[in-house]
Amino acid sequence: MLFNSLDFFIFLPVVFVLYWFIFYKKIQIQNLFILLASYIFYGLWDWRFLFLILASTLVDFFIGQTIYANDSTVKRKAWLWVSVIFNIGLLGFFKYYNFFIGSWVDFLSVFGYELKSTWTLQIILPVGISFYTFQTMSYSLDIYYKRLTPTKNFIAFATFVSFFPQLVAGPIERASNLLSQITTKRIFNYAQCTEGLRLILWGLFKKVVIADSIAPIVDDIFLNYSDYSASTLILGVSLFSFQVYGDFSGYSDIAIGTAKLFGIELMSNFKFPTFSRNVAEYWQRWHVSLSTWFRHYVYIPLGGSRVSKLKSVRNIIIIFLVSGFWHGANWTFIVWGAIHAALYIPVFLMGRNRIYMNTVVAENRWFPSLTEILQILLTFSLVTFSRVFFRSESITDAFGFLEQMYSNFSYETYQHPLGYRMIDYFILLGLFILYEFRIRRDERSPFKFKSRIVRFVAYTLVILGMLLFFDDNIDRSFIYFQF
């Protein structure tokens, strides 16, 4: 069930009303109802894969208890490995199996061994598998590191794993944040609900207006890159930056907003990464829940930055390569991760990776300084360059795209594949950037205006924007569902 589908717009109010009017009295009933709703939400896509979620839930629920009950470090570690192997095994089979087989066949062919890839299977990637396996793994890891006491309430734990607003594409929550809320009775909070509704509206705008309206242009340019000049290819990859941002941050806003309607606060996933002043700041603002996960469970256990510079650099390379690989079973994502590692390491070596941690651009000013503008433009350009690999179907396509950019370095006017006016999209993006800059201090309050009238005007304009850019002929699924 997609957040931007009619099914969801029927599902959500029904679940909301039942939750607060009928199943609100006891926490156990609240959780059982949310669990059922989550399974229906997921099962409507493909009920068979509910068994995978259930298996992941059962394994980590019992492993968590076993790790906690054991004093022996060896046994604790052994059980942790069972959890990690099980979850990574699920991911490995459903997401990476064909990739490994294909890569092995390609590798052997380099040495003259031509094998027929008969071992590849027709595997459907279960939606959300990369997200919920990481969430359940974090539970066992936190218990192992003695940061968490396991819950004995299976329904609460199952709800934590499958909570429908964030089940299919995050934010990837840690048990310390989400499970603790699930084990506490939720009380209706008017302010929290209105904030949730506002976030849902803003998320829908980003998805329907920004991401979906740009998608046909990006698809056209990446599909036919060999026909276009550098200016068009730069336009295509720049628009893809906005598309993927609108798509994923829009999804996250809807997820966070929906959770708020049920009295749950999810972590922020996007903090206006477009206004990052260097690549390090970008990673503090882009897909925050994944970056945090990797920092806590990969980077820090490897020694993080508290080891020698050389080892720290190694850790950075590992974390970015793993992060790239997490996105998909394709060499393009690994190269994308490698590019980000290459961009991050100089910032790290210069000691500038934490300087923007607690500030936003133009902190106490209306406008950014010229230096900040240049920093933002440089960061955006570097990140956008890496997206050539993120978006291309294969490494060959990505290099073909770059080669075409180099060999046909000229300007041409781009015509929309469906004949629409391109100026509409430029105006739209210009206004969007200005608005995001206006609200850059608080990603959880996109309509923070004192005046009720201004707020009302903003709501109306956002809905009008959705009408003006709605396109019923395009694929409306979310990009990150494929991960």
């Binding site: 009619l6 008017y190 509409d424 009408l467 709605f470 002929n473």
Partner: protein, 323 residues
């Protein structure tokens, strides 16, 4: 909770009102003229209506229409006499041309090329060959005064009926409920951009779940070909039936068609039986620019130019006009 529900309803209501206003101010939604059934049971537009036809979310195509006293979209009134030279273009929405300014229609383009003639455009969305011949037959006294009649025909769509009958489904668009809904420009706009399709599809889905399911057996190529051939024979039979029922003056009537989408069976029948036709397929194929609009399959300004040139050339070729 009560406060949330009341405020949400209030906000939704106010937003809808403001959106209705904005859609009206920026004229985002199309106007639709009123249709009716006249004394000859000919379906047409109520005379003397004006409005704007809009296509696309952001007014990508915006054009004015004017329904004349005869009930068709045209800049001129239809007053055929023996003294003047007139031709009639009879057809569906392609001839009706709501997607173009009424003063820049195919008829006007022909008149620009041949100033001595008047072109009467009897175009109406959904008219098939039965509608067209029934119209000409019903208003024989007027059409007899018109020197030449060109009938637009699309083989696969326009010959599904063997005789004329009132199309009630089209007239149902004038039901009180539909007329009321049409008063809201926001609803008209939302419907035109497809935002109301999902709720409609959901409704059909729910209705269909209640109905007993019919088993659909996939057809093989031979069966598909058989059905196609049967249809072609049926359409040809319908053509013959309509011609014999409502009359067809081969000297004065010409068909306007695209041979690329017309059955060879039908084309050879026309040739063998001396039915004249204008085939615009070659001109469309030779065109270096698109001949249709972005949003739908109707002819754009260039497409209409090509059609007008084809008709003008044809009229010259048959010595209808001596220059």
């Amino acid at each position: 909770m009560k406060k949330l529900i009341i405020k949400s309803i209030l906000y939704v209501f106010l937003i809808l009102i403001v959106l209705e206003g904005l859609v009206r101010v920026f004229h985002l939604g199309k106007d639709t003229p009123t249709r009716f059934l006249d004394e000859h049971k000919v379906e047409k537009w109520k005379p003397n209506q004006n409005g704007f036809s809009v296509t696309g979310n952001r007014r990508q195509n915006f054009s004015e229409y004017h329904i004349n006293t005869t009930g068709y979209n045209s800049y001129r009134e239809f007053t055929p006499t023996k003294d003047k030279i007139e031709i009639a273009l009879v057809g569906d929405s392609f001839i009706e041309g709501f997607h173009q300014n009424y003063y820049n229609s195919i008829g006007k383009k022909i008149e620009n090329a041949l100033p001595e003639i008047e072109v009467y455009e009897y175009g109406y969305a959904g008219y098939d060959f039965a509608d067209q011949l029934h119209l000409v037959h019903s208003y024989a006294s007027q059409f007899d005064l018109i020197d030449h009649i060109i009938l637009g025909i699309k083989f696969s769509n326009d010959l599904t009926r063997a005789e004329y009958q009132v199309v009630n489904s089209r007239l149902a668009l004038e039901s009180p409920v539909n007329r009321m809904l049409k008063k809201s420009k926001l609803i008209v706009y939302c419907k035109s951009i497809g935002i109301l399709d999902p709720p409609q599809e959901l409704m059909y889905r729910l209705i269909n779940t209640l109905k007993p399911k019919k088993k659909t057996v996939p057809k093989d190529d031979a069966e598909i070909l058989k059905i196609k051939n049967e249809n072609e024979r049926k359409y040809l039979a319908n053509f013959k039936s309509l011609v014999s029922k409502y009359g067809y003056d081969k000297k004065r009537f010409t068909l306007l068609l695209d041979s690329r989408i017309t059955s060879p069976l039908f084309l050879s029948y026309l040739e063998e039986n001396q039915y004249n036709y204008i085939d615009f397929s070659t001109s469309f194929e030779a065109s270096d620019r698109s001949t249709t609009l972005i949003y739908d399959r109707h002819w754009n300004n260039h497409g209409r130019d090509v059609i007008a040139k084809n008709i003008t050339q044809y009229l010259r070729d048959i010595n209808f006009i001596k220059n």
